[in-house]
């Protein structure tokens, strides 16, 4: 069993890098990649704390549901990105400032 702090340090790094990507990148798809990193940081925390109590699998079940929601988010998000790209001919976040014409 590895010390749980080492999992948590990596999860903190992944969370901060995901936040940095969401703030600084100017492409919508890169922002989606940053969101995936944030979700994976939370998954790593859940698995790490589940490891402390291996008789129950509550943490792992939470990870499964987080993965399911991440799938929905990626599918719907990319569909919206495609439609917005067809309308504005760009996927730069700052130039998309209106929801309708």
């Amino acid at each position: 069993m590895f010390p749980v702090e080492h999992f948590l340090f990596l999860a903190a790094l992944l969370f901060s890098v995901g936040l940095l990507i969401i703030i600084t990148k100017r492409n919508t798809i890169m922002v989606l990649l940053g969101i995936e990193l944030l979700l994976n940081a939370s998954n790593l925390n859940l698995v790490a704390f589940n490891q402390l109590w291996p008789a129950s699998v509550d943490g792992q079940m939470f990870v499964l549901f987080v993965i399911i929601v991440a799938v929905c988010e990626a599918a719907v998000g990319l569909a919206i990105v495609l439609q917005v790209y067809q309308y504005y001919q760009t996927s730069v976040t700052d130039s998309i400032s209106e929801l309708k014409e």
């Binding site: 702090e5 080492h6 600084t24 989606l32 495609l82």
Partner: protein
């Protein structure tokens, strides 16, 4: 250093380096490939943390599903001419301040905090069949969230195909 701990720290370093490289990369396609590397390294960490089912799910769904969808999105939303995949960085100062502040705060709190690692029960001598436990609890204790997740997947599938379709409705 045993082989197990070597692999654990190897996977941790790979995940951290690919995440940092993803933040520095200016190419969307390289970014997606770096995210695949990071997710596979995380799957290796899950195996070493006794979460085999989660690791397989991670590889199947993230590396096999989400990343394929994202690469399709990249191919459909980039112009073929004139510098297709380059991404500019904006708000660099505020981004670094926010992310660095968040990272520093988390590291400070986590290094102050003491998590019980000795008092809790150790792994039993005979290995627990984790996948069997997950399957049983998925259909007993977590059956309602499981069904709701199925409905959520169906709704998002229909919604995504409706939003992404280019065919206009035949309303007169």
């Amino acid at each position: 250093m045993t082989l197990t701990s070597f692999m654990f720290y190897f996977f941790e370093i790979v995940a951290a380096l690919s995440a940092v490289a993803l933040a520095l990369s200016r190419n969307v396609f390289y970014g997606a490939l770096l995210l695949i590397v990071c997710l596979l390294a995380l799957a290796g960490i899950y195996v070493l943390a006794f979460a085999e089912f989660i690791a397989v799910t991670q590889i199947l769904i993230y590396a096999g599903g989400i990343l394929v969808v994202i690469i399709f999105g990249i191919m459909l939303t980039t112009k073929i001419s004139e510098k297709p995949l380059a991404v500019e960085h904006t708000y660099l100062l505020s981004g670094i301040l926010a992310a660095g502040g968040c990272f520093g705060l988390l590291i400070y709190v986590l290094s102050k905090e003491y998590f019980l690692t000795t008092g809790v029960q150790q792994l039993p001598s005979s290995p627990v069949n984790g996948i069997q436990t997950i399957g049983v609890s998925m259909f007993s204790k977590y059956v309602l969230p499981f069904e709701v997740a199925g409905i959520l997947l169906l709704i998002s599938l229909v919604g995504a195909s409706v939003v992404a379709s280019t065919i206009k409705s035949k309303k007169e």
